[in-house]
Symmetry: C2
Subunit: 458 residues, 2 copies
């Protein structure tokens, strides 16, 4: 290989600074998941193809990365089959495993497979990479982490209340003020469709309504009419085009609008329970808002739908989302297992924190001091101190080679190490260390205990 | 899918308890890596096939998991090519990416690709899964974690000294006493081959010598003779068949045995530097031993070779290994970049800790208390307390549903939650909480502050 090596498109190398920042976010998400009683599981990176295929629609099937069977993958293929030169039927014959596409289907598979070991309700979290053969673009990668918390085995709406609190707890801990946690309910959407007498056009209706911000009321109405929703029907839900006020104002409007729909009124009552309790218990730095244009995951969510928008002024899509799905494990044959969960978008949260300059400086903290290497004897003297400092959990390093001192100081500088420790013959004879503050330039002569004290201050 | 779902052979689901234990080991390895000045990087799960293929020998090529190209992977294949029905040439045409096989080759690729951003010497650590299409067996999986620390860009033997200390620091922190860190040097092995006049038979010689423990002196000699090494040659290295005593005794014996070999004497002097300094600086709970039968990674190691054996009495293979390779990045066109590194075997360390019962109980700590759910009003009262407790970083949970109290207590029991908090009308009216210790059965009535105090004690 003569040319400089590269990595597959849509994938990333993470430098030490990037890993440190990502780990900072993950550790905050993780500790809050645990504080709320969620327990971690991990599932394999690849699953049997039959576990994943057909679970994400046709588009999803296409975007799942398939793993070629090991050994002679043509073994069981006839010449006739090959000659058809049709890759689709061939795929399942030469590939039996596929990379995880999300964490929800593997979780459902896990719950069904381990149902006898699991104590329900089961609150699990999972922070692992997933892979999608999507066309890479800004902020969209072929390998990325998902951070999911789900509860399975309880229909209690207290879960929804807690999940809103969990979002707030994480974003508060990250120092992110003014995040909007948008909530909607699938039953509200069904109710609306019922009221306008176009239940069969629910998806068209919500897709159009979702564009309200982008194309305005007229645009949305035009699209609805094009999709075959009557002007008369649209008239009935006119309040939705100017849907403002507090969350309880909005709930009141909905309860009038949806009076005739049993489903809709069930959605209203669910929303009311969740929003009332969240409001009475209080949020820290986030805002809860009811957004009837929210229609994500319409295919599988059956109750609450969540989506989290970054603080105003940050141009970025949603940084989290989730909802309730009444039949999480039905696809694997275990019926009547309700689940509700939320997800955090690690990559986007990273970009938001970067943009708002919210990463604490300590995240990038590297070694506290670099011991300058003046030769074998001096290095041994240094290593004695280093060994003791490390035993006291202080991060220190010896420059490994006896090279020009200037080069060693440059190394400390480039690595942003705040102190250099200089040990020459004089210091050795006195049993001391010359400690140089590389920011102020100040240098002092200290004994080991003082050295340890200074370096242990954060 | 009617049958119960399963996962691909050689892969594993990890339950909450297993994840907690694995995370415990990883966090100790990670914090010690950082204490020694190593910085984390992460590389993509899959690399371009050309990055990996040909780097691990023919066997390795076979065991690398290949990813099928997305879309119509037959697009560029002619009918003639297909009709040859030979999977080997076909592989590179329908698959351009492959799953990471280890962390060393991706690290070498990373160093070359990012050489202008990296400040050398570069101490990096990497803790990520790797995949191998090996035949699964006890303790061998198709997906497993590697935990590697390597330094690149310095030939200093202080690195080897520090890596031995690092092994000791990690195993000491894990409470593992009596781990043996075995060291050898590739130059010693070359020296031996030179002395016996069979440099071309070095691999045969070491493979045979490596079996000393298993097949004994006679068996090894028999195998050596079968491989064409003369009795006379074997005679010259007779001391190696009864090679005992302290590390410095052994080094002395080697310096006599290898006097005539320049390479061999270089190996002796390297070993002497490393072992002397390790000994003078002192190890905590581990033992350093010189083992001339150690010949792992003979194809790529050029200096020190490490292998770590679990404490005596634990029947388990090596729990770590590593060494120096003088030309880490040459495969990607960057010459003269010496590297040295070590690896920790997560799965085996897990089994050793399990066998010796060394996981601290706190590792499995789940929520501190379960609030029993007596109904909507009581649950709200509980949620007020829960919200405040969580804000104080105390892990507590509300049982989400209003079901029979016995079922709720059973849940706390099965989850090993140590306390239950009972809130009925009496407690609410008094503004109190009945706190039941589920181990002792003792129950006391407390105010919020006392509740918080008791639950915050670990």
């Amino acid at each position: 290989m003569a040319s400089k090596p590269s990595i597959p498109k849509g994938t990333r190398d993470f430098s030490p600074a990037e890993v440190a920042k990502r780990q900072y976010i993950i550790s905050i998400i993780k500790s809050n998941f645990e504080k709320f009683g969620f327990q971690p599981i991990e599932t394999p990176s690849f699953e049997n193809s039959e576990t994943l295929m057909g679970k994400y629609g046709e588009e999803g099937d296409r975007l799942i990365f398939k793993i070629l069977n090991s050994g002679d993958f043509l073994d069981k293929i006839s010449l006739e089959e090959l000659q058809t030169i049709n890759y689709k039927p061939l795929t399942s014959k030469i590939s039996e495993k596929a990379l995880r596409y999300d964490l929800t289907v593997p979780f459902a598979r896990y719950v069904v497979q381990h149902q006898n070991e699991i104590e329900f309700p089961f609150k699990r979290y999972q922070i692992q990479p997933v892979w999608r053969a999507d066309r890479p673009q800004k902020g969209r990668f072929r390998e990325f982490y998902q951070c999911d918390a789900d509860v399975v085995g309880s229909k209690s709406l207290w879960q929804e209340v807690e999940l809103v609190q969990l979002y707030d707890a994480v974003f508060t801990a990250l120092g992110l003020k003014g995040v909007t946690i948008k909530i909607n309910n699938r039953k509200i959407l069904s109710g609306i469709a019922e009221v306008i007498g176009a239940s069969d056009k629910l998806i068209d209706f919500t897709v159009a309504l979702d564009k309200l911000d982008k194309i305005g009321e007229d645009g949305v109405k035009k699209e609805m009419i094009e999709k075959g929703i009557s002007e008369n029907a649209i008239e009935k839900v006119q309040p939705l085009f100017n849907f403002t006020g507090s969350v309880s104002d909005k709930i009141n409007q909905l309860s009038i609008l949806l009076t005739s729909s049993e489903q809709g009124m069930k959605g209203v009552s669910e929303l009311q329970f969740i929003c009332d309790n969240v409001s009475k218990l209080g949020l820290n730095k986030s805002i809860l808002d009811l957004d009837v244009t929210l229609a994500r995951g319409l295919n599988y969510y059956t109750g609450a739908i969540f989506e989290v928008a970054p603080p105003e002024g940050v141009a970025m899509g949603s940084i989290g989302g989730g909802g309730r799905y009444d039949d999480l494990t039905g696809i694997f044959g275990l019926k009547d297992m309700s689940g509700v969960g939320i997800s955090f978008g690690l990559d986007r949260i990273y970009l938001v924190l970067e943009e708002l300059n919210l990463f604490p400086e300590t995240v990038l903290a590297t070694s506290k001091a670099l011991f300058i290497n003046y030769g074998e004897k001096e290095a041994f003297y240094a290593m004695q101190a280093i060994t003791k400092l490390r035993a006291a959990n202080i991060k220190v390093e010896l420059y490994p080679d006896t090279v020009k001192v200037g080069k060693q100081f440059m190394h400390a500088d480039k690595r942003q190490i705040p102190y250099a420790v200089i040990v020459g013959e004089t210091e050795m004879n006195e049993g001391k260390f010359a400690l140089k503050n590389l920011v102020s330039g100040e240098q002092i002569l200290v004994g080991f205990d003082e050295l340890k004290n200074i370096l242990s201050i954060n």
